[in-house]
Structure formats: C-alpha cells, structure tokens
Symmetry: C2
Subunit: 277 residues, 2 copies
C-alpha cells in the first residue's frame, strides 16, 4: 500500500491527490478553509502538520506557486524526509536542481493542463531515477502521467518551454492591446485584425478573462522561465516583460468575476501598476 | 498630374510605386542592380539622385528598413524638399514625430502585408493632415490605402502594434524551440504540442523559413517597437528579446534557400550569435 503526501491541495493539487491510488495525505496546519474543503472533497487523510506527513508518507508531491517551491521543499527536508520527493511545480531546471540537492530520492515534475477533473485534459510529466515507479500511482486515472527522458530537470524544462509559449504569448497579446489603447489605435487594430488575423480580437478578450484570476502566480512562473532562458544562453526579456504584465494584474485575484479586456488594459496602463483592487 | 517619388524601390517599395497613379520617380544613384531591375519592371522614371527627385516630385514616399528611416528623411530635407513627405516605415510614433519635424507637410504611414502584387493582401495606413489627399493616388489599385484617425503617429502606432504581435510572437516561438533543444526536450515538446496545440510544430518550422531571409531588418523594427512600448509605459523586454533573436538570424539574409527549423535553432544557440553565414 502506497502512502502519498500532497503539499498542498490547491485547485490543481487537490486533483493530483484525488487521482492518486493508495492512501493520500495532506497537512491542514495553516491552510485556508477553501483548501480544507477541497481536501475533504478529494477524500484525503489529514496528517495535520508537515512533520506528520513526513512521518507517514513514502512519497511527497509538491504542487504550489513557483515562488514557494524552494521554501516548501526546505520545510520537508528540514523535517528529515527520507522518501521520494516530487517537485511538480513550474520552476526552472536550475531551481529543480537546487531542490534535488535537498533529497536523496528526487523526481522532477511539471504539470500541463487544467486541474485534472476530466480524462485527457491534463498531463503530469516526471523525470529522474524514480519517475516510472512514481508514475504508476496514477495508472488508470484521468491524470495522464508520463515519464520524460533526460533525468532531473527535463520535466521542468518541458513545462518551462510549454508555458513560455502559452503564457508568454498571452502576456504579449495583452500588452499589444494596451499599447494600441495608449496610442488610441485600438479600434483600428481590431479592424486590421478582422481582415488579417481572424479571431485575434476574441482571443484578446479570452486572454484577459482567463489569465486575470491566475496572474498573481504567473508572475513568479515567468521569472522562472526567464531564468531558464538565461541558462540556455537565450534572452530573458520576453518573460521578464511577461512577469511585469502579469504583475500589474495581481489585483484581479480577488475579483468576483473575471474582468473584460478594457478593464485589464486599464490596469496595464495604470502607472502605479497596482490594478483595480 | 501627380508626381510621386519613391525611396527606395525594394521588394515592398517597388510595388508601392507600381500601384501609384501619375508619374512615379526613383533615384538610381548608389542603388543595387536588383533595385534597378525592380524599378524598370515597375515602369518608374529615373530621377537619378535624391536632389533630382526632390526637384521633380510633389510627394515623396519613404519605404526602407526602419533603421534607415531617419537618415533617408534627413537626406530629403537637406535637399530642400517642400512637398509632402510620407514616411511609410515601421518606426515608433516618437521616431515618426522626429521625422515630421523635418518637413512642413508630413504624412505618417505604415504598411501591413506582403509586397502588393495581388488584390486584398496589403494595406498602407496613412495619418496626418494630408493623408486623404495622398491616399487618392492609389484609388482603384491592388494596394488598399486607408486613412487612420489620430494625426501623425497613429499609422506608425498601428503598424508597431500589428508587427509587435506577429513578429514578436514569431521570435518567441523560435526562442522556445531553441530552449527546448538546449534542454534536450524538443521531441517531448513536439509530442505535447501534438496533443494540446495542434499545428504548433508546423508553425515553428514555417516561422523559421519565413522569418530567416528578413530577420536582418526585423531586428531594427523590434527596437522601434520596444521604444513604442516604453513610451506607453509598457515593458520593453518582449521586443528587446525579439531583436536579439532576429539579430542572431541575420546570417540567413544571403542564404540560397530559407533554412529549416533545426538550422535556425542552431544559429540561436550559437554562443557567438553570428549565425551560419
């Protein structure tokens, strides 16, 4: 019987835990009521603290905002965890290597797709020595877990490249809309797009609505991708700029409903860069 | 009878001249044999020098690489041109304003699409006081000339926003491919794209082939877009990075055939950033 611990059951993490076979644990200390509710809905067992999780789990999977990944790993290492640590976060290969240093048994990971509620939507890539053994825990579930060749860093690199395009191009598209608004040619741009890039106006509005609630954690992810590029001898600017764009949208985290394109543009052009909240 | 001068009949400029009504002039001094051939094919009259053009034309249209736009304008202004000067180049609104200062009658312009050989492919946007009068010269031609509201700078801003997306996203896509290659996850990325972003692999190869022959002039255009963003209070990084990517591809200008994706990736990852030529 396998015992897998999850840090933490956020919207994504809860589905990673819910789709995992065997016993699945979480640690309630210091978590929000929303996390508590998700953990209960997913049928997770409460180990109460990270120390409790470390004592009972043979494998711990970290699913958290990228800016928290090293701190979460350090907490687990400090509690003396001797099992397999899986960092499934959107971090650079270099950050993954830093985390790997903390554990004797380490598996690198990266998740692509939305929270795994439906078959075929979401893949978790794993790389490193114990990747295949860890992957078996999700056999037959709606989460598609795949081993990627190349050892520690490969799964993170794949995630960085994938998100570097999807989120990087989203930030660029929103910034272009803001520039057009600043120069009072937004309507002319939409007219031109209607001729030459059909759906680009709708794509802009969709990007505003989809990215806004999550922009607060995209900022850290973009900084990890910028570092990934630098380590490859490629320019960091695309994702440094994307981090700044998403940083100006953090105020939408608490919005009741996703904002429309005009509202996002206003936040991007706001000199204080604070957003509307 | 209108007399329009064109500086210079490159691949784009030759079609701008060929579609213009009335007498169209060019200046052969110092131009290449290829430009000579294009000017003859387009039926242009040779005024020999910029001074000759300035003496005979009532309107002069500049179509040149963005990095040359100010120098070309200065040459015309120094020759005492008193007619309407049209800068149709991919420059920032601020650069357009600098050029506008050189002339009493100035029209801002921006071209979107390929050289205008066929109906419906190419638009030239014009803005400023004399824009509508200038636009009439192309009435009924395959070049679709449109007036954009907002005065000097509006047509340039529209071009910057349009190209900021098309060329900026092309550079990002090529850079992502290079990063994946560096981390040895390029095949894994293509496998993931086959599931989640159909056509993205083909789009990558198409971007490599289409951008490579023109990358040498995209570099300067990206720097103009970066300046356009800064003047709008938006981050310059996207297009500074794009300039660096295209800068590493300048060696393909002289290639016999457009390179494939692997060849472009190799140039991007080349530490010297020189490319293959």
């Amino acid at each position: 019987m396998t015992v897998t611990g999850i840090l933490h059951p956020g919207q994504m993490g809860a589905t990673i835990a819910a789709t995992c076979s065997g016993t699945t644990l979480w640690a309630s200390a210091g978590r929000t009521a929303a996390t508590q509710r998700r953990a209960e809905d997913a049928g997770l067992t409460d180990a109460e603290t990270v120390a409790g999780l470390v004592e009972r789990a043979d494998t711990i999977v970290s699913v958290c905002p990228p800016a928290r990944a090293v701190a979460v790993a350090q907490q687990v290492a400090d509690a003396g965890f001797a099992g397999v640590y899986v960092d499934a976060n959107a971090v650079s290969p270099t950050t993954a290597a830093v985390i790997a240093e903390l554990f004797e048994h380490y598996v690198d990971g990266g998740i692509i797709g939305p929270p795994a509620h439906l078959d075929g939507t979401t893949r978790m890539y794993l790389s490193g020595h114990d990747a295949a053994a860890v992957a078996e825990r999700w056999a037959g579930s709606v989460l598609d877990v795949r081993v990627v060749d190349g050892g520690v860093g490969a799964a993170s690199a794949l995630k960085m490249c994938f998100a570097g395009w999807t989120k990087g191009s989203t930030a660029l598209l929103l910034a272009i809309n803001a520039a057009a608004q600043h120069y009072e040619v937004h309507e002319a741009l939409f007219d031109e797009w209607a001729i030459s890039i059909p759906d680009q106006a709708a794509r802009s509005d969709g990007a505003a609505r989809a990215a806004s609630p999550k922009a607060w954690r995209f900022e850290g992810e973009m900084r990890e991708i910028a570092a990934t590029f630098v380590d490859a001898g490629l320019p960091a600017g695309f994702h440094q700029a994307a981090a700044e764009i998403f940083g100006r949208m953090t105020g939408f985290r608490a919005a009741d409903a996703p904002p429309d394109l005009d509202t996002v543009i206003a936040a991007l052009l706001d000199a204080d860069g604070v957003g509307p909240s």
